[in-house]
Amino acid sequence: MSYATRRKIVSKIAEALCALAVLVALVPLAMILFYVITHGASALNWAFFTHTPRPVGEPGGGMANAIVGTLILIGLAGLFAVPIGMICGIHLAEFSGTKFSSVVRFAADVLNGVPSIVVGIFAYGLVVYPIRRFSAVAGGIALGLLMIPIVVRTTEELLRLVPPGLREGALALGASRSRAVFSVIVPAALPGILTGILVALARVAGETAPLLFTSFNNTYWSTNIMQPMASLTVQVFTYAISPYDDWHRQAWAGAFLLVMIILSLSIAARLAVRRLERMNRP
């Protein structure tokens, strides 16, 4: 076999291995979605959405309190993280060249990689430890801390996509910098930024570890944010490690609901981005 043929064969084999890698990664994805849909959909029923958990041994019950709990927790997280993250992103986009901005950018990226359980400990020390009680507020702050770096970076990136002509026009009309930013540039990027926030909310809605010792869990109906609160993720965890078949079924149903929420949020975000791109095209 000539040297040239051998090189061609090596090339083909390597290309085939790369294609194989894609297939290998798609197998677990397909398996996970398959099991979540088949096990989860069959366990879903009306009671799942309207009832609170029953004691061990009693069949039935649902996760109504956990569904509402998750919504409250991500609402608190958004309230805490969105203003901080957005204004920080605006500052980074406006004063992008300064040393301060690159330090903050670096810090945000590194914070984004801090394990969520560590952020949970931080929220525990900040909120739970001083008042000696698990609370939804602590959980919301833990999730918010995880959201901030994502909101910062998406805000900054989307603001940079705004055509410079808009800023120049506003400044030429005599607007101050803050006026140009808040009345012209931010509104132009707002749909994109909101999409980014949606993605960030979807990500923290799936977090379990930081909630284990902040919002803890609650088998009863509760909307008091100063008290422990149930969440879908912690409830799924509790049920999954229990020895009861009925609880396992409910865990699958909870996982199904979680995956559906996250998938629909991320698909909505993707469609919104595509529409934005089409609108911005000249």
Binding site: F122, E157, I241
Partner: protein, 316 residues
């Protein structure tokens, strides 16, 4: 005049918020060290070399957890790196154009699935499969330390498999970004010299080598801190062993399992000290990974400084 003072006010007021971000980073380090003082004072360096974890006797040694975290992450990287790089190469260099976006979206979907769902799947689907494989392991193979131990299904091997699946999308999406940013002149030069397709790809990989190492380290950072899925399948036994079959424990898992059960201050402080070390390790790995990724992208912008606007790397 009014305008310039307006501008300065705007700069200072919005500048408070980036300060908050820095404050969070410092605050985590401060709070975690403050809350682990009892354990740091009592055990000192022995906390990191001790192998006994006995809450009842009040003796805490963290070595089994450190070992479990490092070993499981290393195994996960060995499994995930070839696959993640293969995906990145296929999507950016080989795939037909119409397949690029859907394939990119599908692999990134792996990152969107919550850890708890991986854990649930791991407990009820993957663990039984692994147990079957372990039961069919021939006896001569079981003499190798890597494959010794009881066929439980839960254990280091199962955890490493789940971790590797979870890490793939992070590494592959950054590696893809790096490959996309390699100037096409690099590949064209290779083709002009008579290179095959694979040889041209190797040139592109060589050009983005630093960034790709950064992408792998980003995956490592994720693997080190992953909690729920690992907690549910690793078996949670503080044992130091190279065996893939034996149940072991990780730093994140012990915090998740025992934090709310910690009855006395010392126990709690010992757990938080483990969290502190996990924080330091992941900060270090992530910072290094970011620097590597940024340095590749900076080089690209300097080559094309006249034609391309400066572009920031996409946050993964």
């Amino acid at each position: 005049m009014r305008r310039s003072s307006d501008d300065r006010l705007f700069r200072i007021v919005t500048g408070i918020f980036p300060m908050l971000v820095l404050l969070i980073a410092v605050g985590i380090a401060f709070e975690l060290s403050r809350q682990s003082m009892l354990s740091i004072r009592k055990f000192g360096f022995e906390f990191w070399t001790g192998r006994t974890w006995d809450p009842v006797a009040g003796v805490f040694g963290g070595l089994p957890f450190i070992w479990g975290t490092l070993y499981s992450s290393l195994l996960a990287l060995i499994l995930s790196t070839p696959i993640a790089l293969g995906i990145a190469i296929f999507i950016s260099e080989l795939s037909p154009r119409f397949l690029r976006q859907p394939l990119g979206y599908l692999t990134e979907l792996l990152a969107a699935i919550p850890s708890i769902v991986y854990g649930l799947w791991g407990v009820f689907v993957l663990t039984p499969i692994v147990r079957k494989l372990e039961l069919f392991t021939p006896d001569w193979l079981k003499k190798v330390p890597l494959f010794s131990g009881p066929p439980l299904g839960v254990g280091m091997g199962t955890a490493a498999i789940i971790l590797s699946i979870m890490v793939v999308p992070f590494t592959s999406s950054v590696a893809r970004e790096i490959l996309k940013n390699v100037p096409s002149a690099q590949r064209e030069a290779a083709y002009a010299l008579g290179a095959t397709r694979w040889e041209a790809i190797k040139v592109a990989i060589g050009y983005g080598k630093t960034g790709i190492i950064g992408a792998i380290m980003l995956g490592l950072g994720r693997a080190l801190g992953e909690t729920m899925a690992v907690t549910m399948v690793i078996g949670n036994a503080p044992v130091i062993s190279t065996s893939l079959f034996k149940p072991q424990y990780t730093m994140a898992a012990v915090i998740a399992n025992e934090f709310t059960e910690a009855a006395d201050e010392l126990y709690l402080h010992a757990l938080i000290e483990i969290g502190l070390l996990l924080f330091i390790i992941t900060i270090f790995v992530n910072a290094l990974s970011r620097l590597l990724i940024w340095s590749t992208q900076q080089r690209r912008t300097s080559v094309f400084a006249l034609t391309a606007p400066e572009e920031e790397p996409v946050a993964a």
